[in-house]
């Protein structure tokens, strides 16, 4: 079972945290700090797995973002890397070439997508199509409710997005090879 997942930037800023075990806030902060420091200190070619307390840490970097999962002894490290990858693919499909800013500004969406992929620390659904369909259905419900049209919003804000792409975009090439 996965115990938690953390997303943080190269600068050490936490972008998303999902805990599948109950810890007091103080402990969460301590764990987060400790892991961010440990992982940022590691060199690129190092192993993606490390032993930490009685857990296994699996992490991977996508452009400016680090994805880090803590799993239990009997869990499969390689497949956890692919859980991360599937999540990135989902974000990528949903946001259209996702970048760190998408996750900052739409953190709630990032949570909703994660909740479709993993539940209670276990994989719930692995099919990309099925998950995106579920998220689309949620969006549809929202859009019906919303006063403003989503299309106009996108049109309005595209200008900013270009800027972010050049500086922050996740490196597609790197990721998919």
């Amino acid at each position: 079972m996965m115990q938690f997942m953390l997303l943080f930037s190269r600068q050490g800023k936490l972008r998303l945290q999902k805990w599948y075990v109950a810890h007091p806030d103080k402990l969460k902060k301590k764990i987060t700090r400790e892991l961010i420091t440990t992982i940022l200190a590691r060199k690129p070619k190092m192993c993606s797995f490390l032993e930490w307390r009685d857990l296994k840490i699996v992490y991977k970097r996508y452009a400016s973002l680090y994805f880090c999962c803590a799993i239990e002894q009997e869990d499969n490290e390689l497949l956890t890397l692919e859980v991360i990858h599937r999540y990135v693919e989902l974000l990528d499909k949903y946001f259209g070439s996702v970048c760190e800013l998408d996750i900052i500004f739409n953190f709630e969406k990032a949570y909703f997508i994660l909740d479709e992929l993993l539940l209670g620390g276990e994989i719930q659904e692995t099919s990309k199509k099925t998950i995106l369909k579920a998220i689309a259905a949620q969006d549809l419900l929202q859009e019906d409710e919303a006063v403003e049209g989503a299309l106009r919003d996108i049109g309005l804000l595209r200008k900013h997005r270009k800027v972010s792409l050049t500086t922050m975009a996740l490196d597609n090439h790197n990721r998919l090879t």
């Binding site: 490290e77 390689l78 500004f105 949570y111 539940l119 209670g120 994989i123 692995t126 949620q138 804000l157």
Partner: protein, 936 residues
């Protein structure tokens, strides 16, 4: 600002932009406080706040929380959103609750009602929202409220697949919280049959659930084995186009495959059904075959997913440990990975091979890769991979390759990473002992260890070499000669001095014939190191010297001279002073016969498992490194020349007792240790004062023992319980002495430990069991070992139950194991004290203060005694006010050390005290403050 999907909240996006534009931390905090004030006033005043606005503000609060700030309002508004009829509002409400609400919150009751409504909804999206929330919080209350609903949802034919998936995992989460919620009976087979479901997503989720259920009750869920094997077989024989979206980078259903392989590791291979077993082996073979096929894609995702399944299959093969052919094939496959260019694969292959090495079928196959593994240990760039290589070498070591592996590990140790040295030292020590056929080799290895990595050689290691030398005649002369040579080095490690001192004290006579190592030379060599050593080592050396007087009467005056020098104020340490003067007197008064009896050669130690192994196991809570396979095959020659020394007294693994102050082990018979030669010097009063009728009856004052280690802990008409304890670093050892004061035996005499689970991991306790009958007038001893792992509060208790004249009795006594026992006193001058004091006081989190009225008469001398007994160093002359007490100390825990400063200011006119404690850890400050404040 990027585009926002769904119904984007402009206000939220603007706020996030503002925060990102803040130039400094201060500006950010200011902006956040402004926003918090705004939201607070909106929530308070504006009754007409619509759902959209509520949602927006709740979302802002969530964002602020995720930035790391505390949020103490808005929970009610979030709960209100749950009952909104707009999905987007509901969804944000649920998100807020999942992230911010603790399992024990008062709000849970309110939330439960909303969840109930959504669970009953006809819209699967709403139902899933509710299920996700239950799974996210997963509290006991949730388990009680929904324990009936969710299993029904899971197996009902009407439930949609997406809901089934969530229901399975939700149930799993609740099951982890509260095991009783899973219904048995017909439910079992319905849950198992989810493995046959059409929908791959449902099967994947259900397999996770079943895996957990099987762990609790393997017999009941046994039916899942054949279903799991069939399902697995269908997947591994499927082509990658068959499973459509469940094929991941050309690998069919890797997640489900891994889950199924995991599930099967809960059972031994299905022997009673050869059909199932055959099919399973076919699956495993197919997976191994596929590993040899050329990759269908160059992408790392393809190879990761494929190898994830392969590694899990290998785990299962190792778990089953019955098919030699599969084990060897697995080993060959892993061997190929050892030189793969992916670091991740090399790491996992080394780890997996460790397990293969412990199977008798594949042990030999693993050994073929020894050279590559040694290279990995030396050449890998990443220390975690090197660590795996060390583990594997340890696991693959047996009699045939021990010498080579130990030598390679020793070579590597000289340059090894600091983080793995200590563990490597333990491993080398264990292997050398286990596979030694020639004990001179063993002695050489250990002395090399001390030379190369002396700082990392723990006591267990050097105690052990001494035990082994003492127990084996054939190696004693060699050991004496070797340590003598090792001590010639101008700079040798203190641990070498300890081993050398002990061995020469026992067996120096065996090499005294040679002029180059005559008694006088031996003595001078040892004494030349004396001044460079810690008090503990000096104490040991003094004992060696008195033994020299017995062994070599010719250097008596030379040795006595040294005792004389150290028996006075020149030895600042009271223990050394006392030892020197008593040894001196002993050498003057006692006749040579008496001397020879007192200082007789040490008897053999009882044979037992190496305590080093226990240390190694403790260091690796996650995975216990193994080197077990050979245990049964190669009986280590144990030539104990004194096997019949039947020693019944409970002696734990340490050789010198626990600490520098001599350990009084009452009645420890002939294992009486070296430092005990003169018995109980520090002399806690022996607690076996069983016929003292004048003692007050029912005496029990646990508070006293916060500042005291030895004494009578409890006394009644029936029983007296005495305690003696010693602490060093983060370890403690307690001897409890139960004395029966009556003239009948106490039956069913059982002491049990009472120590809450949450604390028990922080202070681990091991108790030796005692005989169930305590004879009339007799006294028995119980040893308790404690290790401080992390900071804790309070202290464990012993619940003692027994029958006195068939009337059950029960006594609960708090053990003197409060956290201050793990203090090491720290000497420092005024300047550094105040610098640290200031440093630690900068935040509230580090200090704790109490101002309280004196409950006893204010006697500063008595207060002084108490503080000194508390364990910290009392620093005199630092505080300008001579009445104030200032102390410093370090608490030792396994993982960390917490420095701690303390100041106690008595105010006589007001009859008040002010106590301030500062440490690097808030919880420690509070506990230390509470413990000490209670004493005055």
């Amino acid at each position: 600002m990027p585009a926002v999907r769904g119904d984007g909240m402009r206000g939220l996006a603007v706020f996030i932009s503002d925060i990102r534009n803040c130039k400094s931390k201060e500006a950010e905090i200011k902006r956040i406080n402004k926003e918090l004030a705004n939201i607070r006033s909106k929530f308070k005043g504006d009754k007409t706040l619509d759902g959209y606005q509520k949602k927006k503000y709740v979302c802002k609060l969530l964002f602020i929380f995720l930035l790391g700030h505390d949020i103490d309002f808005g929970h009610m508004e979030a709960v209100n959103l749950l009952s909104s009829n707009k999905y987007s509002e509901k969804q944000i409400g649920y998100l807020f609750i999942s992230v911010l609400v603790n399992t024990n919150s008062e709000l849970i009751k309110l939330i439960i009602q909303s969840i109930k409504n959504d669970l009953a909804s006809r819209n699967p999206i709403h139902v899933n929202l509710a299920l996700q929330c239950i799974a996210n919080i997963g509290s006991r209350e949730m388990a009680e409220a929904f324990g009936n609903e969710i299993p029904k949802l899971l197996v009902s034919g009407d439930t949609m697949d997406v809901v089934k998936q969530s229901a399975a995992l939700c149930l799993l989460r609740l099951f982890r919280t509260s095991q009783e919620i899973i219904p048995g009976g017909e439910w079992t087979s319905r849950i198992i049959h989810l493995l046959n479901d059409q929908h791959m997503g449902v099967v994947t989720a259900a397999t996770s659930l079943i895996d957990a259920l099987v762990k609790k009750n393997p017999e009941e869920y046994k039916g899942c084995v054949s279903l799991a094997v069939s399902r697995l077989s269908r997947i591994v024989t499927a082509s990658y186009t068959d499973l459509q979206d469940y094929t991941y980078y050309f690998v069919p259903a890797p997640w489900l495959s891994v889950k199924l392989l995991r599930l099967l590791q809960n059972y031994t291979p299905p022997a009673e059904d050869p059909g199932v077993r055959g099919r399973l082996n076919e699956c495993l073979e197919t997976i191994l075959n596929k590993a040899q096929e050329p990759p269908k894609s160059k992408k790392v995702q393809h190879s990761n997913a494929k190898n994830a399944v392969l590694f899990e299959a290998i785990s299962l093969i190792i778990h089953n440990d019955s098919e030699a052919n599969l084990l060897v094939r697995a080993c060959n496959q892993l061997g190929q990975f050892l030189s793969n260019r992916e670091t991740n694969l090399r790491y996992l292959a080394l780890e997996s091979m460790c397990h293969l090495a412990t199977s008798e079928f594949s042990h030999e196959a693993v050994k073929k890769h020894q050279e590559v593994v040694i290279l990995s240990m030396k050449m890998e760039k990443d220390v975690s991979v090197r660590q795996q290589a060390v583990d594997l070498l340890y696991a693959m070591c047996d009699k045939s390759n021990a010498e080579e592996i130990v030598q390679e590990m020793l070579n590597y140790l000289e340059t090894a990473d600091y983080s793995i040295r200590e563990e490597m030292v333990l491993k080398v020590a264990i292997l050398a002992e286990k596979y030694a056929t020639d004990y001179t080799w063993y002695v050489d290895v250990i002395l090399n260890l001390i030379r190369i990595a002396g700082d990392y050689v723990s006591e267990e290691v050097w105690y052990r070499v001494i035990q082994i030398v003492i127990n084996r005649d054939e190696v004693q002369g060699y050991a004496a000669k070797t340590v003598f040579e090792a001590l010639q080095a101008p700079a040798c490690h203190e641990n070498m001095v300890k081993v050398g001192g002990y061995i020469l004290g026992e067996f120096g006579n065996l090499i005294a014939g040679d002029q180059r190592s005559s008694p006088s030379v031996q003595f001078q060599l040892l004494h030349s190191k004396y001044h460079l050593c810690s008090p503990m080592t000096r104490a040991l050396l003094l004992s060696t010297y008195i033994k020299f007087i017995n062994l070599f009467p010719e250097i008596r005056t030379q040795v006595q001279e040294v005792f004389k020098q150290h028996s006075n104020l020149r030895s600042a340490d009271a223990e050394l002073q006392q030892r020197a003067s008593e040894y001196l007197q002993l050498s003057i008064i006692a006749s040579s016969d008496v001397l020879a009896t007192v200082l007789e050669e040490m008897p053999a130690f009882p044979e037992r498992e190496s305590s080093i192994l226990a240390v190694l196991k403790k260091k690796k809570p996650g995975r216990v490194p193994e080197n077990e396979i050979k245990e049964n095959k190669s009986p280590t020659p144990v030539t104990n020349h004194n096997n019949d020394v039947n020693n019944s007294s409970a002696v734990s693994g340490d050789l010198l007792g626990l600490s520098t102050p001599p350990t009084a082990q009452p009645n420890s018979g002939n294992t009486g240790v070296l430092l005990d030669v003169l018995g109980d010097i520090y002399g806690g009063k022996q607690a076996n004062n069983s016929n003292s009728a004048t003692q007050p009856v029912n005496m029990y004052n646990p508070k006293k023992f916060v500042c005291k280690n030895n004494g009578v802990l409890f006394e009644s008409d029936l029983i007296q319980i005495g305690v003696k304890s010693e602490f060093r670093q983060n370890l403690g050892r307690l001897g409890l002495f139960y004395g029966n004061k009556t003239n009948v035996p106490l039956q069913n005499f059982v002491p049990t430990l009472s120590w809450p689970d949450d604390q028990a991991s922080k202070l681990t306790i091991q108790m030796k069991p005692v005989e169930p009958v305590l004879e009339a007038g007799a006294q028995i001893q119980q040893m308790i070992n404690a290790e401080c792992v992390d900071d804790y509060t309070g202290a464990p208790s012993i619940v003692l139950s027994f029958l006195y004249l068939n009337v059950p009795q029960k006594i609960t006594i708090k053990l003197p194991l409060t956290i201050n026992k793990f203090f090491e006193p720290t000497e420092m001058n005024g300047e550094s004290f105040f610098a640290r004091w200031k440093n630690l006081g900068s935040t509230n989190q580090q200090r704790s203060q109490k101002i309280f009225r004196a409950t006893q008469q204010m006697d500063l001398q008595a207060a002084r005694t108490k503080i000194m007994g508390f364990g910290m160093q009392l620093l005199d002359g630092i505080d300008p006010n001579p009445d104030n007490f200032v102390c410093a100390g370090i608490i030792h825990m396994r993982s960390q050390q917490v420095g701690c400063l303390l100041r106690l200011e008595p105010n006589k006119s007001a009859q008040m005290y002010r106590l301030t404690v500062r440490s690097s850890k808030e919880s420690v400050s509070i506990e230390i403050c509470d413990l000490l404040a209670d004493q005055f």
